[in-house]
């Protein structure tokens, strides 16, 4: 089947009203349902709340009373300022943005290109191309890492302005490139499923008017793809932000330019010497993706199901 349309995504977030309840709904199952749902919600939130709580407690307080205690002497944001300053977290957040924003932009653009070409035009290799991308997206990163690491450190040359070693290895450029290549699989899959649902008459009319392929793409197709593009932008921001593995291996010799998710690993233990600081660092790192999720929840959930509903 095709990808979910925006109305279906809507439904997912604002589900259809339940069918009229039978009179006198059996009460027991409903009570049990509430118990399970509330219990699950509490259980899922507990680790996050515990981290937040720990991060807000002064070290003197936890030293004296232990971590499992009520606050004596109030809560404080001191751990956040300490963590931020000691580990120079601002630097790593800038690194992250320098990597994530271009990667998301380019991956959406290139995926739209190829999705447009294979879904609106008929070539002999359409299916092969689509298969290649979809399968590529499903590979574990570790399958490609050994040769990729060698290519990055010995083969792929990069101007010294962009890299310390003159190669893609240890450079943010190299990291952006692998994100683009790797994430393209998923985005192409989603975009092509969506573009197939746009009626052919729309572009045919443009073609009759003499619009070039390029114009058709930018002024007819892309504006119609706002919904999946928004969903994918949200998802890709989160996924690339959350990447740990690529940056760990491909930026191994350049910790100063690592993104926050990877940097946090080496900062912990070096600068974050107690649980309070680890918690503060973790909460700070989690904040951007949680904020994006809260603000763009609909896009996020819609995107995940867009990608998964083919089949």
């Amino acid at each position: 089947m095709s990808a979910l349309g925006s109305t279906e995504v809507d439904q997912l977030v604002h589900p259809h009203p339940p069918p009229s309840r039978p009179v006198r709904a059996r009460r027991w199952p409903v009570v049990l349902a509430y118990v399970v749902l509330i219990g699950a919600t509490a259980g899922v939130l507990a680790p996050i709340l515990w981290a937040v709580y720990t991060s807000l407690r002064p070290i003197s307080d936890t030293l004296e009373n232990g971590y499992f205690s009520l606050p004596s002497g109030g809560l404080t944001l001191d751990n956040y300022t300490t963590a931020w300053e000691r580990a120079d977290l601002g630097r790593y957040f800038v690194n992250t943005m320098v990597i994530v924003l271009p990667a998301v932009f380019v991956v959406l653009l290139l995926s739209s290109f190829i999705a447009y070409a294979v879904s609106r035009f008929s070539f002999r290799f359409n299916l092969a191309v689509l298969l290649l991308f979809t399968a590529g997206n499903l590979l574990p990163q570790q399958v490609v890492i050994t040769p990729l690491y060698l290519m990055y450190s010995k083969l792929l040359w990069l101007p010294f302005a962009l890299s310390e070693d003159g190669y893609w290895i240890n450079s943010q450029t190299g990291l952006v490139m692998i994100h683009i290549a790797f994430q393209m699989g998923f985005c192409t899959f989603v975009m092509s499923s969506y573009m197939k649902t746009i009626p052919g008459e729309l572009t045919e009319a443009a073609l009759v008017d003499g619009a070039s392929v390029l114009r058709q793409f930018f002024s007819v197709i892309l504006p119609l793809c706002r919904a999946p593009l928004a969903a994918l932008a949200t998802l890709e921001f989160t996924w690339i932000y959350n990447d740990f593995f690529w940056a760990l291996v491909l930026m191994i010799g350049n910790p100063a330019d690592q993104p926050i998710t990877t940097a946090l690993n080496s900062l912990t233990g070096t600068y974050f010497t107690n649980d309070n600081l680890v918690a503060a660092g973790s909460v700070l790192t989690a904040l951007p993706t949680i904020l994006v999720f809260i603000i763009l929840q609909k896009q996020f959930v819609g995107g995940l199901t867009l990608g998964a509903n083919k089949g």
Binding site: L37, T41, Y67, F113, Q141, V144, T146, F244, T305, N309
Partner: protein
């Protein structure tokens, strides 16, 4: 799932290409060529590279002419004398089985309950989904705050309720894999739950009501009406779960670099690429083993997904 046919039949497709101008064709060639080149060059070339290098012995540092071809020696050594290999495979299998059973069942139950639209459903759904937006590495950090012996939440709760002398290093003692699996499931449940929920939304309410009128109880309706309708989602969940289990790396790496009971094949590959002793042949052979296992799961899915588009 809802079965909207994706597009009207387009008999003129073949002819349309001929109406394209030269410039159009160049644009299309770039649209296909650039992304395909990038993807093939950085994903598929290294994949094939792993296969080729798996038959070699090389430290990755000395000049390329020191690379030796050793036929299947890497594989033989991995299967026979590499001490971490079988524990890693065992852990990956445990990871997979655990993931297929525990978070998946919980996610299905939660999705089923959320689908009832009780008061507060949107809040429960959002809250349970939050861990999905956190990186697996961060999940490791957050759960360390729970599992630590002296300062961790879990032992403190146990000490203050059940046994005041309780001590356990959840992440260092045997059984630590299951402690990690609970943390990993914490994140996986929300993801799978959303997939199931999307599937449940597409179950025809009329069918349920019909079954209810026929006197079927809730379990019977679930078993005979809802679950069969979830078949397409189940396939997606299966693939997602298998892939996530094989890819698992970040969380164990953050906790103890994947040692002492937390070995995984993915970690061994990492160790052989950039670890103390870089053994390119070993790392590649391990990657090929991972690739083969992945393909066993992925190929049937791809076939299923693209079946209808295959030329007859």
């Amino acid at each position: 799932m809802a079965t909207t046919t994706s597009a009207p039949a387009r008999p003129e497709r073949r002819r349309r290409l001929r109406r394209l101008t030269r410039a159009d064709k160049i644009v299309l060639a770039v649209f296909i060529g650039v992304p395909t080149f990038l993807h093939v060059f950085l994903i598929w070339v290294p994949t094939v590279g792993s296969v080729v290098l798996s038959f070699s012995s090389w430290d990755g540092i000395s000049p390329l002419d020191q690379l030796e071809w050793v036929a299947s020696q890497n594989y033989e050594q991995i299967f026979t004398i590499y001490p971490d290999f079988w524990p890693a495979v065992r852990n990956n299998v445990i990871w997979l089985v655990f993931f297929l059973i525990v978070p998946t069942t919980i996610a299905l139950l939660l999705a089923y309950l959320l689908d009832k639209n009780l008061t507060g459903t949107r809040f429960y759904q959002s809250a349970i989904f939050v861990p999905v937006v956190l990186s697996a590495a961060l999940v490791g950090f957050i759960w360390e705050l729970i599992y630590k012996d002296e300062t961790g939440l879990l032992n403190n709760v146990i000490r203050s309720t059940v046994n005041s002398d309780f001590h356990r290093q959840w992440l260092a003692e045997s059984g630590n894999l299951y402690a990690v699996l609970i943390a990993a499931s914490w994140r996986h449940i929300g993801y799978v739950m959303i997939l199931f929920l999307a599937g449940l939304k597409s179950v025809d309410p009329a069918q349920r009501e019909a079954a209810a009128l026929d006197g079927a109880n809730e379990w019977q309706i679930f078993r005979h009406v809802i679950f069969p309708a979830l078949a397409p989602v189940n396939v997606v969940v299966l693939v997602v779960t298998v892939i996530e289990s094989l890819r698992a790396f970040d969380i164990v790496f953050v906790i103890n670099k994947g040692r002492n009971g937390l070995e995984l094949v993915s970690v061994l590959i990492y160790d052989n690429v950039v670890g103390e002793a870089s053994r390119i042949g070993y790392g590649s052979a391990l990657a090929v083993i991972l690739l083969i296992i992945t393909m066993i799961a992925v190929l049937p899915y791809l076939y299923r997904t693209f079946r209808e588009e295959l030329p007859q």
